[in-house]
């Protein structure tokens, strides 16, 4: 549990430091288009990696959880229908919960 607290505080400190960095560094530092582009693309790479890992991995092994995948599929449908953020989340969790309650997946 102590480890989680340390992770929480380190993450908070790191996130704040990054926010402040943008306000205090001289403008020229990040004017390189490649650096700027990298910072734009990093969240895409990491978020996609997180979607993949949290969908298909349990620790270090790859698994397939049908209810979880059905929930994600429902999220994709909701996103294609341009549903707002919270609706996407509720649809995804609800789909997985219902399938598990019915014992289907």
């Amino acid at each position: 549990m102590t480890g989680v607290w340390v992770a929480v505080l380190v993450t908070a400190a790191g996130c704040y430091a990054l926010k402040l960095t943008g306000l205090v560094v001289p403008k020229g530092v990040l004017s390189n288009p490649r650096v700027r582009r990298f910072a734009e693309l990093v969240p895409i790479a990491l978020l996609a990696a997180l979607v993949a890992v949290q969908s298909f991995a349990a620790g270090q092994s790859l698994t397939i959880d049908p209810a979880r995948l059905a929930g994600l599929g429902a999220a994709v449908v909701a996103l294609l229908l341009r549903a707002p953020f919270l609706v996407v989340i509720v649809v995804a969790a609800g789909t997985a919960a219902v399938l598990r309650a019915l014992g289907v997946a």
Binding site: P43, L46, L47, V53
Partner: protein
């Protein structure tokens, strides 16, 4: 300013999802709330909750969460001229540099409106995000097992929703997303938890080197003929 308050309320409510996901992953209510108060940037918070759920790799989890916050530094660069330049006010304003405040601030017609928009969005979203984190965290603990409620799907669904508009931005964005996912899954069996996600950043590096400009014409697109 009204835009800021409206957006702040709409997005702030999503703190419910984070609170529920955090407690479902094994964090305490206090840890979820402290993270919302002090980190205050959604994607990073969901990422750390996911790492805690993984059971191991907290160092990798924290590193990945912080790396996800790197875009806020870029936002700060664009907002620096509009926000307080020095002192405590700058230190406080820095905490509010996130996706939503940046969007509202840069959409305003002049500097005074930009400052008002930033303040309105920051205050609204900070209050609602933290309040709803508390509600979600308490609610998830009371309602039953996280698995039965489908809370294990909240994290990936939230990431998917966050990444969705970026994936529509262009081909490089989609390629980087796919590559990031493949890199992470392919290395998962061989590396400690959390590390594969950080390794996925190499996809962004490759994307930046290959396509440094977001709106550059595609190399294979037909070029206008010189008359």
């Amino acid at each position: 300013m009204r835009d800021g308050i409206g957006l702040g309320l709409a997005v702030g409510i999503s703190g419910v999802a984070f609170g529920a996901a955090a407690v479902g992953s094994g964090m305490t209510v206090a840890q979820a709330c402290v993270l919302s108060l002090l980190a205050f940037t959604g994607a990073s918070q969901f990422a750390l909750a996911g790492a805690v759920a993984g059971g191991a790799g907290l160092i990798g989890g924290a590193a990945g969460a912080i790396l996800l916050g790197s875009r806020n530094a870029l936002y700060g660069l664009r907002l620096a001229d509009l926000l307080p330049r020095r002192g405590v006010r700058r230190l406080v304003a820095a905490h509010g540099v996130i996706d939503e405040t940046t969007a509202v601030t840069l959409a305003q017609p002049d500097a005074a409106a930009a400052r008002r928009g930033f303040l309105a969005t920051f205050v609204t979203i900070y209050l609602t995000w933290n309040l709803t984190t508390l509600l979600g965290a308490f609610g998830a603990g009371r309602l039953g097992s996280p698995q039965a409620l489908g809370i294990d799907v909240v994290g990936p669904a939230a990431f998917l929703a966050l990444i969705w508009p970026r994936l529509r931005a262009g081909r490089t964005e989609r390629a980087v997303g796919v590559a990031g996912a493949v890199i992470a899954l392919a290395t998962t069996p061989f590396l400690p938890t959390g590390v594969p996600v950080i390794l996925a950043a190499t996809a962004a590096l490759a994307g930046a080197l290959i396509s440094p400009r977001p709106d550059s014409p595609r190399p294979d697109a037909p070029q206008p003929e010189v008359p």
